[in-house]
Amino acid sequence: MKLYIKEISNYQSDTENIDIKKELKSRYKLDTRRQNKFIHLALIGAERLKEKVNVSLDTELYITSNIGNIDVLQKAHSDVYLKGEFVKPYDFINMLGNTTNYYVSASFGIKDKNIFQISDSFSYIHSLISIYGSIYNKSKNVILGSVNLVSNPDIIIKRILGVLKDDILINSSSYQLLSFSNEDSIAELKFDTKIYSKQEIDIIIDNSDKQVVQLDFSTQMNFNSLIYKNITENISVLFIDSYNETYKILELNLLTK
């Protein structure tokens, strides 16, 4: 299977030190009331993609996250279980995954399909497979967003993700406009449904003429941002993602626009 990246945007907290809420209000003139940090993070990446492309009304939107919105859940948990109170209406609304999609689709002006999905592992590759199926059947372009917010304190998200205590996690929000057509595209993504064994992967690595990047927990969480980085640096890469000693591969091939 192949998909083409028409355009890409990115925000990540380790390379930029900005007040996202302030940026959304001042630069993009957005009303940020009744939203939380996760939604703000989702919107910054979306607004940056909007600056680069015209998004048509019937574009489909998929937003994926390795874990979703932990901050609001922590608060709701504290309200219900520790304080014996009830969940505040906007905490409840903002807890639901597609609330984020609501604000992002409104930002893009999209009125078509709008899916929030989570895959604990192979999140990016599995999303591409879903999107391939959707474009195959509807011939529409798709925007794929990936949003990951590190809760404060980060020990909770580390337990949930199953990463080590000392791993460094970052906030990220990255979007790609994907298509079946390579016209005016900046990169090609090649992937399949096959699961590889360690032995098979070793052979693939040995025979690869591209730079090989094996993902760890931290880079798995920010795979979209890693794609952005390699596109910006003009590097074609063979990515290897893993889960419980099973492996999947994704080829990123740079194109000249």
């Binding site: 209406p89 609304i93 609501y102």
Partner: protein, 372 residues
């Protein structure tokens, strides 16, 4: 688009498995329990369709329940076919399974461990244990979660990515979700009365349900449908039902159908004040007053992310027995000439529309067909 059929189905509701559920409905012996929740006025007891065995935060039971539904659905598949089977789950509660991890972090004495607990992680584990394809995805679009998962599954088969897809809807009680619905004043303290003037909210329900879809012959086919994001406000649609009309209309257009081609309609019908009004107005704009329509939530509760599949399975099971289940607790309709059926409607085949409308304007209309 390639023909995709519904090959097998299963459900588990507050009344038990599919057979038990149908029996409870037939005998009008519905297992309605209740839960205490904190409100501004103190503790209130809300009606709730709960499983016999408490599942909340009991991760082992949730995992085993999902696995048992999957096992039931794949029983006839060969090992080669299983390897070509994806697993999609629709649930509104992805994040809520994280509560245990939050609790762990509050206790310094609990050792740090990498013990992921989430619906998708269970799906991965089950897929590996049962030698499925390893492809899993969990959709979370509130009340349309498993309905969206079904349409995504159809895409995967039509694009020749997988031969079979298991689509599950999963929803168990959590105090946070219950409290959230209450804080929006959407819960009824009595019973669900769909499309009735006296309606005062929904009754939540726990549910697990699944279907296996593929290209092999079956009497039931998944014709297709439409999913779109179109909302008046984040929690409600417009009174005229523009958003619901839009998705139903697009589903019909996509499949080149006219409203007269629809034999009957399964409505979303949450019994909430605004949703039911929008929905009945949308129905009246698409269909004439002869449309046969029903609501299934009064039997099993609003199973949120699971309702897409659970109500599909229940609806199909009724027709397999020769009728469409009547709607119970119907009072005076909010729209003249549009009342859901109050007697079981004899029906053995036809083309059916099933509607699901979620928070944040996520709406899905699915069309299925049963051949003679």
């Amino acid at each position: 688009m390639a023909k995709v059929n519904i090959l097998k189905s299963s459900l588990f509701s507050a009344h038990g498995n599919l057979e038990d559920t149908l029996k409870s409905i037939e005998e009008n012996k519905l297992n309605l329990s209740s839960k205490s929740i904190e409100t501004l006025d103190g503790l209130v007891e809300v009606p709730y369709f709960l499983f016999h065995k408490e599942m909340e935060e009991n991760q082992d039971i949730i995992y085993k329940a999902i696995k048992s539904i999957v096992l039931e659905l794949i029983v006839d598949l060969t090992s080669e076919q299983r390897k070509n089977t994806a697993l999609l789950i629709g649930t509104s509660q992805i994040d809520l399974n994280i509560v245990n991890s939050i609790v762990d972090t509050l206790d310094d004495t609990i050792e740090f461990k990498s013990d992921k607990k989430s619906i998708d992680n269970y799906a991965k584990k089950i897929s590996n244990e049962l030698n499925l394809s390893g492809y899993t995805m969990t959709m979370s679009t509130a009340c349309t979660s498993s309905a969206n998962a079904l349409l995504e599954a159809q895409n995967l088969i039509s694009a020749n990515i997988f031969k079979y897809v298991l689509v599950l809807g999963v929803e168990v009680h959590t105090s946070i979700m219950c409290s959230g619905f209450n804080s929006l004043r959407l819960l009824s303290l009595g019973k669900q009365t769909p499309f009735s003037k006296e309606r005062d909210g929904l009754v939540l329900g726990e549910g697990l349900a699944g279907v296996l879809i593929g290209e092999e012959d079956s009497t039931w086919s998944l014709e297709g449908g439409y999913s779109n994001a179109n909302s008046y406000t984040i929690t409600a649609s417009g009174v005229d039902g523009d958003e619901f009309y839009d998705v139903m209309n697009k589903a019909l257009k996509k499949l080149k159908l006219k409203s007269k081609d629809i034999t009957a309609l399964k409505s979303h019908a949450t019994s909430s004040v605004s949703n039911d009004l929008s929905e009945i107005n949308a129905i009246s704009r698409i269909f004439d007053k002869n449309i046969v329509f029903t609501a299934l939530k009064p039997y099993v509760g609003h199973t949120l992310g699971a309702c897409g599949i659970l109500e599909l399975v229940l609806f199909m099971a009724g027709i397999d027995k020769g009728f469409i289940h009547k709607t119970i607790n119907v009072g005076e309709s909010i729209l003249d000439d549009y009342t859901p059926i109050t007697k079981d409607y004899i029906c053995t085949n036809g083309t059916f529309m099933l509607n699901y409308f979620g928070f944040a304007g996520n709406n899905v209309s699915i069309i299925i067909k049963k051949s003679q």
